[in-house]
């Protein structure tokens, strides 16, 4: 009898251990393996870093040629000192993985369409569909080409190989106890790092910045509303403010011209209910460089301020790399070698997105449902069908056949977003092509002067960026660099006919004909995603969106600047002046001046708006009322552009305000849901009432009598897994279209100021996050309070090891295998 009880008890014990050692799906999410996860000896408790932990250590690493010193400062920024380049990149890979391994792997999995391996297919297959989208956009295909190019150059090849080796050295040193928190939470383990992952990461940045195209939306607009509407509502140039480079009449070169005629405008309606999400139109960036003539100490200064979707772990990882021939500091992208934005002892550089249209969609005609042949220049051409496999966690593998054509992969077809299953659309993207951006950063990291910067940029294809430059030699410069197709008028705005090769990119703008200049008379260069060049630049330029407000405010402040100190540039980076409100609110208020039967709340709103100084500061109530009004106005104005199963896109902010002011009787201002015929005035009145009602509803839900802007905006820095408990709420001013471009989810991701003094370059910086990716580390969110309060850390740019004596020392010794 007792043996039965023993067996029952034993089985129960073993079953309990098994249950607590496995993760279990529960309603769309997963419970971590509770025994493993909660064990204080190896579970998540071990990810809590001790208050008194020391960062100094001595480790043996195989693959090193010589000893390596990594000094770690109080911001957890590593300063790597090596005697040769191979060791330098191995150490960069090692230390980056030490602080960011989970993020590096997760982001490259996301780029490659492999998230469903980690978290399953998701609710309604959302995760699997995301993964399929990534493969169908050719992310891996593009990354493979990037890697091929990287390996053709000895320097970029060495860097990517050693960086990869360094990451793998770190991965090999890990036991379960040491795994980053998220692996324990989701119950999986890191795989070997590969060189392809480095390429994937760079292509993923290109995806973030290039996918703002509206080809499908504009094609639908054309079909539904006609060419006149397209021209009226979506002009190529808005003619607002200064272009990035104003060089009127001075473009002294013979531009490439194309003999062929522009392609015919399409006449189709593309029904897609769930088009892949585009780049956020509010993603933008600021950069500028000020000549010595405008600064107090006569040295040029540079400002870096890229705006991205803010996330934790942070997008950027600050680092210093020191070896013979190189001493550079700045930020890297975890998962790729080199410094991407930064400075050395002679030059500094910063980037903003160039916005230009570098993606096109081509409609494909297949011969039959096998899709093995498609029509091209009157011939049936064989397609290449690639079997993509998705090892979805917790279920059978999913197979997706992706058809590659002359243009690229067919993204949308009868198996993916098949709402319009008679049509197939292939995707052409500049990032599908071979290019070696790594070489640009390799060279920029070592550049001594303007000439070196120019040479380095010649290797840069994409994502196209506006590169601001300043040097201790006294130069400031700007160059819009990327590989740009020569476009015929309207080319790239609409979906193209994929049956004719003549509709493809025929030529590229030669590097030396890109938009650029050096030391302009006004004493500064700047860019904020606005239109790149004056109207005399001899190439057709198109993009979904050029910036209209930040750039004017920046140039206005920089023009007035003299005897500038670093603090002046910091103030400008954090400037909350809402130029859009200053230009539109007086007109808006006129339209509601005679509004009858005002409620108490509406009277309060009008008072707050009338006394507002146009600054979106933390406690400003006027800003909340204005933004709520605006947020009600846009969808109400462009209600015609909200149709089920048809992707459409609204006109820009700037153009909307312009039309409201200049053509108030435009038929578009009629609201379709009301029987009355509205004009701009009636529309603004309705939007005002809706905006005030939204604010009142907010006040009620928060039990608050006031509506301060930072509270109303309610911004946050989200963890990559979108887990609230790992995210951080932020109370901060600014908004999109403002220099301090912090909207609810996007904002300044690396604020850096460099002063290019001959006696020694100085730099200050901050970013919304921290150096460690570990939510159990104080370095996880260390910089956030500085970032929100416009404070900067002076960066410890070390000239030699002797300056590092007070810092923690991570000593790596070569070990024999």
């Amino acid at each position: 009898m007792k043996i039965i009880w023993f067996l029952v008890s034993l089985v129960l014990t073993l079953a309990l251990i098994f249950a607590l050692n496995s993760s279990w799906p529960l309603g769309g999410t997963r419970i971590p393996p509770l025994g493993k996860f909660l064990s204080p000896f190896e579970g998540f408790w071990q990810n809590i870093e001790a208050k008194d932990q020391t960062l100094s250590a001595e480790l043996n690493i195989s693959g090193l040629d010589e000893e390596v010193s990594i000094y770690v400062d109080s911001l957890l920024i590593p300063h790597i000192f090596t005697n040769n380049e191979a060791d330098l990149y191995l150490a960069q890979g090692f230390v980056t993985a030490k602080h960011r391994l989970w993020q590096m792997e997760f982001q490259t999995h996301a780029a490659a369409g492999r998230i469903s391996e980690i978290i399953g297919a998701g609710k309604d297959n959302a995760v699997l569909n995301y993964d399929r989208g990534q493969r169908r956009l050719g992310m891996v295909y593009g990354a493979q080409h990037a890697l091929e190019a990287m390996e053709k150059d000895a320097n970029s090849k060495l860097a990517v190989e050693k960086y990869t080796e360094g990451i793998n050295q770190y991965i090999q040193s890990l036991s379960y106890k040491d795994l980053p928190f998220e692996y324990k939470l989701l119950d999986y383990a890191p795989e070997q790092w590969t060189k392809l992952k480095c390429a994937l990461l760079l292509r993923s940045m290109a995806q973030t910045l290039n996918m703002g195209d509206k080809d499908i939306e504009m094609t639908n607009t054309l079909k539904l509303f006609g060419k006149e509407t397209v021209d009226l509502l979506f002009p190529d140039m808005e003619n607002v403010g200064d272009p990035i480079v104003d060089n009127t009449g001075q473009w002294n070169f013979n531009p490439v011209t194309l003999e062929s005629v522009p392609s015919a405008l399409p006449n189709e309606l593309i029904k897609l209910s769930g088009k892949l999400p585009p780049s956020d139109p509010t993603t933008g960036s600021n950069n500028w460089a000020v000549s010595g003539s405008k600064t107090a100490n006569g040295a040029p200064m540079l400002s870096s301020d890229p705006h991205l979707n803010l996330s934790l772990p942070s997008i950027w990882y600050a680092i210093q790399l020191h070896a013979p021939g190189i001493n550079v500091m700045g930020v890297s992208l975890p998962g790729a070698p080199h410094v991407i934005i930064g400075f050395n002892d002679s030059v500094s550089w910063a980037v903003t997105n160039a916005q230009r249209d570098l993606v096109d969609w081509y409609s494909i005609e297949f011969r039959d449902s096998t899709k093995s042949e498609y029509l091209l220049d009157s011939n049936w051409v064989k397609s290449n069908i690639v079997e993509e496999r998705f090892n979805v966690r917790g279920q059978n593998a999913f197979i997706d056949n992706v058809v590659y054509t002359h243009w690229g992969p067919v993204t949308y077809d009868d198996t993916y977003h098949a709402e319009d299953n008679l049509k197939h659309h292939a995707f052409r993207w500049i990032a599908h092509d071979e290019s070696n951006e790594s070489l640009t950063f390799y060279k920029l990291n070592r550049a001594n002067n303007h000439q070196d910067y120019m040479e380095a940029l010649n290797h840069y294809s994409g994502p196209a960026q506006n590169f601001a430059f300043a040097s201790t030699g006294g130069d400031v410069a700007m160059r819009v660099q990327g590989k740009f197709p020569v476009r015929r008028k309207d080319e790239g705005k609409f979906v193209l006919d994929g049956r004719k090769t003549s509709n493809g990119w025929q030529a590229f703008i030669p590097n030396e004909q890109n938009v650029m200049y050096k030391n302009p008379e006004r004493g500064f260069v700047s860019s904020a995603n606005q239109y790149p060049a004056d109207a005399t630049y001899p190439y057709y330029i198109t993009a979904s969106n050029f910036e209209a407000y930040r750039n004017r405010r920046i140039n206005q402040v920089l023009s007035a600047l003299s005897n500038a100190k670093p603090e002046d540039l910091m103030n400008l980076q954090n400037d909350n002046y809402n130029l859009k409100a200053a230009e539109s609110l007086p007109y808006f208020l006129e339209q509601v001046a005679d509004l009858a039967n005002l409620t108490e709340a509406e009277k309060v709103a009008l008072d707050k708006l009338k006394s507002w100084d146009y600054f979106n500061n933390v406690d400003s109530e006027g800003a909340s009322y204005y933004e709520a009004w605006w947020d009600a106005l846009m969808p109400m104005t462009w209600d015609e552009f909200r149709k089920e199963n048809v992707s459409l896109s609204r006109p820009t902010t700037y153009h909307t305000i312009k039309l409201l002011k200049e053509q108030p009787e435009l038929a578009w201002f009629d609201r379709q849901e009301t029987p009355e015929k509205e004009n701009a005035k009636a529309l603004l009145q309705a939007a005002f009432r809706k905006g005030v009602a939204d604010i009142e509803a907010w006040k009620k839900s928060k039990n608050s009598t006031t509506v301060p802007w930072a509270e109303f905006k309610d911004s946050y820095i989200g963890h990559l897994l979108r887990i609230d408990a790992l995210s951080i709420k932020i109370k901060h001013g600014g908004n999109h279209d403002i220099v301090n471009a912090h909207s609810r989810t996007h904002g300044p991701s690396w604020r850096m100021i460099t002063s290019m003094e001959k006696e020694g370059v100085k730099a200050w910086a901050t970013y919304p996050g921290g150096q460690s990716g570990n939510p159990g580390s104080k370095y996880y969110d260390q910089f956030v309070s500085h970032w929100t309060s416009a404070r900067y850390y002076p960066l410890a740019f070390l000239r030699s090891k002797e300056e590092a004596t007070s810092l923690n020392h991570l000593h790596l010794n070569p070990s024999k295998k």
């Binding site: 023993f6 129960l12 014990t13 493993k36 204080p40 579970g43 008194d52």
Partner: protein
């Protein structure tokens, strides 16, 4: 007295073994304690021994910790932080308790059924 011996054996044994083996090694220690140091309250000894060890160690780590990861995990699991400590203790405790119970039952049976 026997209970206290058994309990201490489990606390100390579990601590040492987990420095080398995965978390489930607590079951080996508790099982051995149930078998070798059988008391009248074997489940309780196993439960309390591991629960106390896990709970106290977790508490100690959190106390000296530089970041509120425990709060964050409590948030992920939608429970309060005290409950997270309790859950940690209870999860370890149940494994320890059942393992000790199993060991103690085996001991009694071994004398009667030598063929087993």
């Amino acid at each position: 007295m026997k209970f206290l011996m058994q309990f201490l054996f489990i606390v100390i044994g579990s601590f040492v073994i987990q420095l080398f083996l995965p978390w489930w090694s607590i079951a080996i220690v508790a099982f051995a304690a149930g078998y070798l140091l059988k008391s009248s309250q074997n489940f309780l000894a196993g439960f309390l021994g591991v629960a106390l060890l896990w709970g106290a160690y977790a508490f100690w780590i959190d106390l000296g910790g530089a970041a509120p990861l425990a709060d964050r995990v409590a948030g992920i699991l939608s429970i309060s932080k005290p409950l997270l400590f309790a859950l940690t203790a209870v999860v370890g405790g149940f494994v320890g308790g059942f393992a000790a119970l199993s060991g103690s039952i085996l001991k009694q049976d071994k004398r009667k059924n030598l063929y087993y």
